[in-house]
């Protein structure tokens, strides 16, 4: 017992300050893309061609769809003009699918909060049921991290629960494999109204690395109405936390 108390003392208090203070990320972290079309060469499509998932449109004006993006950074390496770089800004989530597109010359606005009755109901207590629907377990791993002492999601009244009957919403990861389609729909049906759907990761938004495979459905859109999109492959725990806190109005 004494040893456990001493270990506790040595390990110290490790819960991070976010959102009251910024959370530092490693310098090579690839967050919000920064697009500067003024640097682009005439008819240059190098970045768009470097993306195997078609996340970038370079004809007309430069734009990047974070819903398709795996944040691999190969476009930034390929670009000869430094017109496309990745910042360490992890605030990426959005309430709408179209809103995930970052356009050159426009400021990106991460998601806003729920409105009215939904905010009143869920703003201070949000229970989520996670459905892993065909991904690679990285999104799940970095979602799990939020429940560790470093992040302590519970302090915001947000919790992952063990039954859809206890839940206010569904948290989906994975591209929705055909083999998980029914389980996903059953889980959604079992959650009492009113309910939310949050999709996390490139897979759940758009199929991710498995986009267009015959065995997957390119994400949860079309099966369930989505209230929040959290991009990344996988999203950083900070991106997930930031998205959830914006949704419940803890960050404006």
């Amino acid at each position: 017992m004494l040893k456990a108390v001493m270990a506790r003392f040595r390990q110290g208090h490790r819960t991070m300050k976010y959102p009251d203070a910024p959370q530092p990320l490693p310098p090579r972290f690839r967050g919000l893309p920064l697009l500067d079309a003024t640097r682009c060469g005439d008819d240059c499509r190098v970045c768009a061609d470097a993306c195997p998932y078609g996340a970038i449109s370079a004809s007309g004006h430069l734009a990047l769809d974070m819903g398709k993006c795996l944040f691999c950074g190969e476009c930034a390496v390929a670009c000869p003009h430094e017109a496309l770089t990745f910042s360490t800004d992890a605030r990426l989530s959005n309430r709408s699918r179209n809103g995930l597109t970052v356009t050159a010359g426009e400021q990106y606005h991460p998601s806003g909060a729920l409105e009215g009755e939904l905010l009143r109901l869920f703003g201070r207590s949000l229970k989520l049921r996670e459905v892993s629907a065909g991904g690679c377990n990285a999104c799940e791993a970095d979602t799990n991290v939020l429940s560790t002492i470093g992040w302590d999601l519970g302090r915001f009244g947000i919790q992952f629960v063990a039954s859809p009957r206890h839940a206010d919403g569904m948290f989906v990861t994975g591209p929705v494999s055909e083999n998980m389609r029914l389980a996903l729909l059953d889980t959604y049906a079992a959650i009492p109204e009113p309910k939310l759907v949050i999709v996390a990761g490139a897979c759940a938004i758009n199929g991710g690395p498995f986009k267009d495979h015959a065995e997957v459905h390119n994400g949860a859109d079309g099966f369930v109405p989505v209230d929040l999109y959290i991009p990344g492959c996988p999203p950083s725990p900070l991106t997930i936390l930031d998205g959830l806190l914006r949704l419940v109005g803890r960050i404006q």
């Binding site: 090579r28 377990n137 083999n179 998980m180 065995e215």
Partner: protein, 506 residues
């Protein structure tokens, strides 16, 4: 006992014409004899054709020699099942049946593996009443009948933030007689997508075969691309890959140690390890920006160099994480109530482990000295060896302690490597891969042996790219571990294996 197998070393490629193609009798008798003589099957798969399939068997020689062997044979719509004599083949044969529509005659347990469509035209062997083998977990489960025997079904969606799978327990009161596991919910069709590859998407698919084993699978793919293209990763790149592989092992072993503590209700270690796991993931992010090594491994080397300032910082962070982890884990050994809960639970005997072909920490906890880093060294492990740790008690306690001992060895390794990074380039230019060749790469992921086999066609595209995740060998071990245990021991036994659903499901 190589009965004319083509023998070779890990990470090499050779013309497909060199693969011996004996008649069926010689092939099956040879495989049987080799296994009896101590060879072990790394991969056994089919390439479907119009009349049946060509079966390829990749085997590893008994310790020490570092030799691998390959042999193939062409079969029609059926082939003799060896599963009853060699249980380690049982799932491979089911997979061949499901993917190639050729039936293993005499297989006692012929059920779907992933509930997937075959890789060729045609219908599977399962009746419409069983969902035609395409409805996940709809199959003929093994049942125990009798008074007071009952069945417990769990999943696919589980209580935590974890992957889907279905577990069927046959129980007598609290005692589990038998556990059958139905997977396939995470099936994303990776192997089908790899026919005709490589494409610009391939590396990303390899990184996400199992997202917690990005380096393990990424390394195997890079090795195959490099041996097929006739180019190399520099010593500097191989060193960074080795560091990343051990960081991946450390993050996962640390997470498992915490999860095991959590499952026996010992919160100090559970809380501390949950956080320290993040420290190791963040060290990986220091190297490449991603906590899961995305973008780090690329054919020809690594995507990001590890410059002196990063190496220094890594070294510092490792030192502090080591202190924290040592303190957190030591609490387990010092707490009798924790050890009492871990000991003599979930035993898989050494003989069973050998018979079913366990790999990785699960095998080493049963006293089997199996570790690709030593048996078939690749990359940096050809120059710098990590001692293999084994245990003998074969229970949850052994699998727990083994993780800690391996974590210590991994930290020693990184500590050494990061201070002596070789100079030179970090990325060599990839070259086109060569037609009509076979490449085999084995790596030791944190769950155990990963095996990738590439067969290129006459245009230099993959005719077949076969992936075996360690979980493919090991899920049966979890089933055996539960025999005659309390059903309440399941979470603990499950954590002590911590197998991958997506790595199995592909």
């Amino acid at each position: 006992m190589s009965f004319g197998m083509k023998t070779f070393y890990n990470g090499t490629s050779f013309p497909r014409a060199d693969i011996p193609m004996p008649d069926n009798d010689t092939f099956f008798q040879g495989v049987l004899d080799s296994i009896t003589a101590g060879w072990r099957v790394c991969s056994y798969f089919g390439v479907p054709n119009a009349e049946g399939a060509t079966l390829y068997c990749i085997m590893s020689a008994r310790s020490g020699s570092g030799v691998l062997g390959v042999v193939a044979t062409t079969v029609g719509r059926s082939f003799p099942s060896l599963a009853a004599l060699c249980p380690q083949l049982h799932l491979f044969e089911r997979e061949i049946a499901e993917q190639c529509l050729t039936r293993p005659e005499g297989h006692a347990w012929l059920k779907p593996v992933r509930f997937q469509k075959p890789l060729c035209e045609g219908k599977g062997f399962w009746s419409a009443a069983d969902g035609g083998g395409l409805l996940p977990a709809v199959m003929d489960f093994y049942r125990v009948e009798g008074d007071e025997v009952h069945e417990v079904a769990v999943g696919p969606v589980h209580a935590g933030v974890i992957e889907p799978g279905h577990f069927r327990f046959q129980c007598h009161g609290e005692e589990v007689f038998h556990l059958e596991i139905a997977l396939g919910f995470q099936h994303r069709g990776i192997e089908r997508a790899l026919i005709g590859a490589p494409t610009p998407r391939t590396m990303h698919q390899m990184e996400t075969i199992a997202g917690d084993t990005t380096v393990g699978h990424g390394q195997a793919y890079c090795m195959n691309m490099e041996s097929l293209g006739g180019y190399f990763a520099s010593p500097r790149a191989e060193t960074v890959r080795g560091i990343a592989l051990e960081l991946e092992r450390l993050a996962n072993h640390t997470g498992d140690l915490g999860a095991l503590a959590g499952d026996v209700g010992y919160l100090p270690t559970a809380s501390f390890c949950g956080r320290i796991r993040g420290d190791f993931l963040n060290m990986t992010a220091l190297l490449c920006g991603s906590r899961f090594s995305r973008g780090l491994l690329r054919p020809g080397g690594i995507g990001y160099d590890c410059d002196a300032s990063i190496a220094d910082e890594l070294h510092k962070k490792l030192h502090s994480a080591r202190e924290d982890l040592t303190g957190a884990v030591k609490l387990l050994w010092d707490t009798p109530s924790v050890m009492a809960r871990l000991e003599d639970v979930g035993i898989v005997s050494e003989k069973d482990a050998r018979d079913i072909g366990l790999v990785g920490p699960a095998a080493r906890a049963c006293g089997l000295n199996r570790d690709v880093r030593c048996d078939h060294p690749f990359g940096i492990f050809r120059m710098s060896q990590i001692p293999v740790v084994t245990a003998t008690t074969c229970d949850v306690a052994a699998r727990t302690r083994l993780r800690w001992l391996e974590a210590e060895r991994s930290m020693d390794f990184i500590d050494e490597q990061v201070r002596h990074l070789p100079r030179g380039s970090y990325r060599n230019q990839p070259k086109e891969i060569v037609p009509d060749r076979c490449a085999v790469a084995l790596t030791e992921g944190w769950r155990g042996e990963i095996c990738h086999v590439a067969l290129t066609d006459d245009r230099g595209r993959f005719e077949r790219y076969k992936i075996v995740d360690p979980s493919f060998h090991n899920w049966n071990g979890l089933g055996l571990a539960l025999r005659n245990q309390q059903i309440s021991d399941f979470p603990l036994c499950n954590k002590s294996f911590n197998l991958s659903y997506c790595g199995f499901d592909l």
